[in-house]
Symmetry: C2
Subunit: 501 residues, 2 copies
């Protein structure tokens, strides 16, 4: 390695460490912090974020990066060093495009906006959030201009979360499977009485839910010498290094799904972070490459694995042991069907596999419309409700169950939602490829054997961290780009099975 | 306030925030971190420590400090601003006296030393730690030279933990009460059969110990909206702001004392940090002023309050409720005596009030001897054991129960031990003063009323944070300096009572 490159890498490793320290403070905030700690914690995090921004955008960093790029010109594209330089260049360009005043304005506005949104949601009162959302959209438009784009300002924002993806491409992908989704849901709606999930709406002791969740996470390969499971109001997974990857969940004593499938979901994120190659783990390449690819991992373990018949062939005996009264008389078929019940509902985070992407499409269309001005903030509740009725056949009773439900916009996250839907599509594309190479995969699940799949994911996805973009990874794995057809086929097959369509 | 002063204060607040962030990372390390996190956590902490050191010793900081000092010359000594400038000057001078190479050498050596010491202790093998201790003492001597001193190199080290205290003064204080302690312990030894603590060596369910500890901490005024209690191998208390002060403890299911009195001890530290004045809380004045004063608070709540007859008049009913089988037949006298049983033993951290300071005197004499060369490292086990026999009438069976028992030297903490003993002396001096002003204090404890004492401590000690040094504080409160006579009178009174001497 060249000397400039080594120096650059050391600086970038510091930057990664600083990011990890912020993540620890944030995890502690959400998991442990007593209420009295809020103010000081905000000061601690904002100081570290400022130091991080200064380090990341310093002239020295710019010079080092340029020097390292010319020093290393011509090295193998697939090498770690080349990947590091690409990621460093992307980060540096992104970070330096926003003027400091803009970053501070954004930070102030989102801090205020969070409270205003939370209150508006509690009061089911969109009007009180509307002026703030106007400002947030104005800043998003400004931000897009700073970042630059070719076709559409939305591309600049989306690119931060899913590199290389564009609004036009997302529209094409979404339009390519929306009609089939609407049709599938309508077909299920006609026979919805065939599947009940009463089995999962019983009383489940929280300690036992935790025990079962830990057991399942361990079974699929989660390494608890390099992780933990805690409780948080809004479940998430976070990584402080490949050796310390933490999940959170929340327990309901009258509903089995949120904690159990939530842990499988977060474990999917966690396995990705635990699977980063050791050689790049402490560098800026040491985390998942995009939100979409991250979501593909969580959705694969939650849905394709965790909601499969074979998974429950393996897991039901343990479930019966822990919950004899609840599951004692249940068959694998019972729990497989209950876990896959489709129910049109208002809240995205509670949506099932069949309806989930429609929730996202709605948001994507609104974000693009707001950004280009074809939708006005004031009209949002009407637009939301009309489109929700069109896609899902239901009208939200109020804005808390409609346009105010998600935290994202108040946090300035415009362009983030599509990654959830892209993750669903990728999960099936990747899984199909693994299945092609290991046709026994599903039979293995029934035996409680998940390492063939996990090792395939580590080899093809996890180990690379951020070395390749989402697009590059998907090309390498599938030979094609992202595609909705496999996802639709997967859903049609599954719900034909579950609902006897 | 002057403009330079404001700028300085903002920089110092950043410095305080950085210290708090490091404390969070350290707390998480000791309380939550999975084993896989060790390496990355070390990198995170060492980066933040480096940034802290750079910020604290920068030329800019030196210039700002000088400018603020002249700008604010002549302001009231007792003002927060004057206190801040004094603390900032002390910190800056301390931090800048060590050359960077020395700091790095020290950091490397102590990291290595910890492992070598832990292994030596596990193997009861002092010889394998001796060469490392030689190096540590050599660095301590160098450090003392960098820091500067008038009479004795030990003064320079001690001054870091207990500002203004000197080896000569400690010797005088220790010599002033050692004979009485030895005599007291001998007298108790002759009637040791009069008091049993079998009551406290029973089976105590851990959940209930936790509940009782939380109840007691709350009763004495610990605010759990600004704190937590967790489990750690080596119990400690840490503060991330006056709004987030956390204690840890460890539970033994067959011995009541470590968790319960441990929590009262840590709560004493915690009350100090929770009591810092709001106006200085986010500044560098926002923590306890010295280790000795800190220890005076923990020892006061643990021993003077928690091991008093009146405390148990209040607490026994609750103890009986939680532990009916263990305490159902116990009287206040039974538990008061059991909690105050004196037992000569080898391990400092398990020592009772009567013997504790002797453990410290031994360490102080050895540290001074090692530093000036009158004691050789190689002779330590012999010196330790002979002196232990002299003071406590027992000979340690091996080095793990003797000279290798404490972590301090391996961490480079030379000059730290005396603060424990000074804390014991101060606890009685301060308490006596509170009692003089509030003669009903003890009667109030019996009613579960602790706020008169707590408010007195907040007003006279806690609120000031680091504004006054230990010496200044003690002068202000007692009108005299630190003094061992009150402590000896307190012990003589208590053990006359407990043992019927």
């Amino acid at each position: 390695m060249g000397e400039k490159f080594e120096t650059l890498q050391a600086r970038l490793t510091d930057l990664a460490s600083l990011g990890q320290a912020i993540a620890v403070l944030d995890w502690d905030h959400q998991v442990n912090m007593p209420p009295g700690g809020v103010q000081a914690r905000a000061a601690q995090v904002s100081l570290l974020a400022r130091l991080q921004h200064e380090m990341a955008t310093s002239d020295e960093m710019g010079r080092l990066l340029e020097a390292a790029e010319s020093e290393m010109a011509g090295i193998d594209y697939d090498s770690d060093a080349a990947g590091l330089l690409r990621a460093a260049r992307f980060d540096y360009d992104q970070e330096t495009r926003f003027p400091t005043a803009f970053v501070e304005q954004m930070s102030r506005l989102t801090t205020e906006a969070h409270e205003i949104w939370a209150k508006a949601r509690a009061n089911k009162d969109f009007a009180s959030f509307a002026p703030t959302l106007e400002k947030l959209m104005e800043l998003a438009r400004q931000g897009a201009e700073y970042l630059g784009y070719e076709d559409h300002p939305y591309d600049a924002l989306l690119n931060r979360y899913e590199r290389g993806m564009t609004a036009a491409r997302v529209k094409e992908i979404f339009d390519g499977h929306k009609p089939q989704l609407v049709e599938l849901i309508a077909a299920i709606g006609e026979v919805e009485g065939r599947v009940s999930d009463a089995l999962l709406h019983q009383n489940f002791e929280v300690d036992r839910q935790r025990e079962f969740s830990l057991w399942a996470a361990r079974a699929i390969g989660y390494d608890f010498t390099r992780g933990r499971l805690d409780v948080a109001v809004h479940p998430f997974c976070t990584s402080f290094s490949r050796g310390d990857v933490r999940m959170t969940t929340r327990y309901y004593d009258d509903f089995f799904n949120p904690a159990f499938f939530g842990v499988l979901h977060e474990a999917g994120h966690g396995l990705y972070e635990q699977g980063i190659g050791e050689g790049i783990a402490s560098t800026i390449l040491g985390s998942g490459t995009s939100l979409g690819v991250h979501e593909s991992q969580s959705r694969m373990w939650e849905n394709i694995v965790g909601r499969s018949r074979e998974f429950w062939q393996f897991a039901l005996p343990k479930a019966k042991e822990l919950f004899p009264a609840q599951f004692g008389n249940a068959s694998v078929e019972d729990i497989f069907k209950a876990a896959n019940r489709v129910e049109r509902q208002f809240i995205r985070v509670e949506a099932d596999e069949a309806t989930y992407n429609l929730h996202i499409m709605l948001r994507f269309e609104i974000e693009v419309g707001l950004l280009e001005g074809s939708i006005r903030v004031a009209d949002l509740p009407q637009v939301w409700n009309a489109r929700f009725e069109e896609y899902l056949g239901l009208t939200p009773p109020d804005d808390a169950e409609g346009v105010l439900q998600d935290v994202h916009w108040s946090a300035g996250l415009i362009g983030y939602f599509p990654t959830y839907a892209l993750g669903n599509l990728l999960s099936v594309q990747y899984f199909n490829k693994a299945l092609e190479q290991h046709p026994n995969l599903r039979a293995e699940f029934a035996q409680g054997k998940f390492d063939t799949l996990l090792n395939w994911l580590i080899t093809n996805i996890h180990q690379h961290g951020r070395k390749f973009t989402s697009e590059e990874l998907t090309q390498r794995i599938t030979g094609t780009g992202i595609d909705s057809a496999p996802y639709i086929r997967y859903l049609q097959g599954k719900f034909k099975d579950v609902y006897g369509l």
